[in-house]
Amino acid sequence: MNRKAYLILASAICALLALDAQAQEYSMPDTTGIYGERRDTLEMAVLTVSGGGNYLPKGKDIRTEVITAAGLCKMACCNLAESFENSASVTVGYSDAITGARQIRLLGQSGVYTQMLDENRPAMRGLAAPFGLNYVPGQWLESIQVAKGVTSVINGVASMTGQINLEHRKPTDEKPLFVQASVMDDSKTDFNVVSSLQLDEEGKWSTVLLGHVDGNFKTMDHNGDGFVDDPRQFQVNLANRWLYAGPTGAQVRFGAHFLRDSRRGGQMAPAGPGVWTSDLLNQDFGGYFKAGFPLNEENSANMAVVLDYNFHRMEGDFTTRRYDASQHSAFANLLYQNEVVEQHHITLGLSGTADLYSEALGYAGQAPAGGTLAPETSLVNVGAFGEYTFHSADETTFSAILGLRTDWFKGVGFRFSPRLTLKWAPSASLVLRANGGRGLRYSLPVVDNFGVLSTGKPLVGSFMDHILEDAWTFGGNATWYIGGSSSTYLSFDYFRTQFAEQMVVDYDAAGPAGPCISFAPLSTLAGGYSYTDSYQLDFSAEPVEGLTLTLTGRYTDARQSRMATGVLDDVKPMTSRYKAVLNLQYATHLNKWIFDFTASLNGPCRVWDFMRGYEGMYADGYTPTYPLLYAQVTKRFKGVDVYVGGENLTNYRQHQPILYADKPFSQNFDASCVWGPLMGIKIYAGVRITIWKTE
């Protein structure tokens, strides 16, 4: 054995000997609350920085991955988009190489088919979707729950592939001040302030103020294509949330938020004639009101009402085209819940959404008003639902949830959506789950495919039509909790999403005037079909105290027939075949030092046909497989965490992400062909300061 081998062996032995941390037993709370108004908030844990991060809780009826506060601290996690880097379930990518818009994929489908919830209220709908992930500061969050498959009918049936619920820091947190600041070597700077205040001795009134500012002060062009790698950007984000907890169990929550985000991308040269730039301004504000009232002393029956309003305005100037849009959005939900007899629980309700859109899409030399292709559009649906839940007497062995919902969709009519979830735990160490059902949503072709605005190709077909997309998702999950432990498990899941109707977008279309991007409903394509099969394996273990290991692999087979290629090659473009993620975390005794390491291997995507052979790339029709490495070290002091880390440590960058960057005014120009990292290695440092409430 040579000296290097001895050194490795000695280091490993010493490291193992050092792992004598006394592990604290953190049993995680149920924070998803997918099946109803949460009643556990006041007693909910706020897991502070400690071992662990992502995990699959045993108790959930639906296969749910929880990203804890600890998981959100493993990386820079400046915003929600970056919070999924150590998850294989959710893949995050850029919509284009210009705007910085991020989009997720769950079960191999675009994130628009995943319902986003903000503490169980639908969020990030419509215009807010393309940048919505950038508009949730990671440091505002307490945890994220990713539920796969069809979920409850209570919040509508827009969730086709799953639901992502965000739990923010609570008004009841005994933290009058939390401050976080971080800076990256590319000048990206984040600043967050959160203040949770309990306003009376009885604990009736409490509020949380959340503030966020981020921006970058420098732009770079590492790949020399003349375009900035990341747009110059500045965001201000404010929110205020209130909780009133009445003495009889009634709870009222309300809040408001405001956001303004401006970003400028495009060519490095100063704006002027012959220079391609993109200027985007997004403004968003809104408020919500939630109230829950027990109808009897045991709280076995209660009523809840949820009201939400949001306004979003987007002004986008992409030099060769312009997109201006606004959206008034309202959501209302009235629920009645009753535990009819022990083990049998029923929820009945009425809910609906109304979105009033004003969209104007104009082309070069055409004023948006003159070139308006769509006047105001209102998309409305109202539905009635019932959900029956049965739990076995011990509340863990068996559960069944049957949800039935009928919605009236404006312009379409009535649609019926059944959903069924089954969970069976034949032993303390094995949990089996199955679920299936229908999902429905209106398409928003331009917003759902935001990258089309960063191309030179004209849009043809149904790109301003809001068809009702219709999908069925079925799947199951088996999790073996080794030795009955909740932190050591092996899990497998499979889900299929099959579309009955979908807006099919084809970047390979050819029109009389050359290449174009076509939009067509799946039902208009002869023999058209669209489906995704997704398989995932998760392994998590704590081999020694303080050391957590998670290993996840996902394989996706996404198929969609398209107009250009018919059914001969139906592999859905720009959808990665697989992803594997390894995460290691070691926390020293009392978590005073925390070391995080994440490695991911990202599989190939089939490229669009027009990309094949461009500059000698993609000869086989697929993108290359690439690795990503992340590392972070956190040192904790009393009330202060200091961390330094690095992202994309292999410095892997997609080569030439913008096609025909030298001809931005040509029809072939295309910045939407993004499949890999746009930015190379990034080093960052940050600090988190927490002041706890004291006597």
Binding site: K4, L7, I8, A10, S11, C14, A15, L17, A18, D20, A21, Q22, Q24, Y26, P29, L42, E43, M44, A45, V46, L47, T48, S50, T172, D173, E174, T588, H589, L590, N591, K592, R636, F637, K638, G639, T690, W692, K693, T694, E695
Partner: protein, 97 residues
């Protein structure tokens, strides 16, 4: 590569030595407290762990106790009780060894 391995070795040795320092001055105290929720648990863990002389902390929500292992040359049970009370929870010694 050798430098990285050497640094890792040094770090590991440092961790070992910090974890296994002589324990002759170590005492264990258990307080009966009013901790009753996960938030309380986290608050105690996040603060008491960084008090001078504290080697270990465990909060038991079902028994409503806070167990602390500490170095009696650096702190004492009164100081620790005061630190717990400052967080808003009671602290009455029920066991000391």
């Amino acid at each position: 590569m050798k430098k990285i391995l050497f640094a890792l070795g040094i770090l590991s040795v440092a961790l070992v030595t910090s974890a296994y320092r002589p324990g002759s001055n170590r005492r264990t105290v258990v307080y009966s407290s009013t901790v009753e929720c996960k938030n309380c648990q986290n608050k105690v863990m996040d603060n008491i762990a960084f008090e001078k002389g504290v080697k270990d902390v465990a909060v038991d929500l079902t028994k409503q106790t806070v167990k602390i292992v500490f170095d009696d040359t650096k702190t004492d049970t009164l100081t620790l009780a005061k630190a717990i009370r400052k967080l808003g929870y009671g602290a009455k010694v029920i066991k000391y060894e």
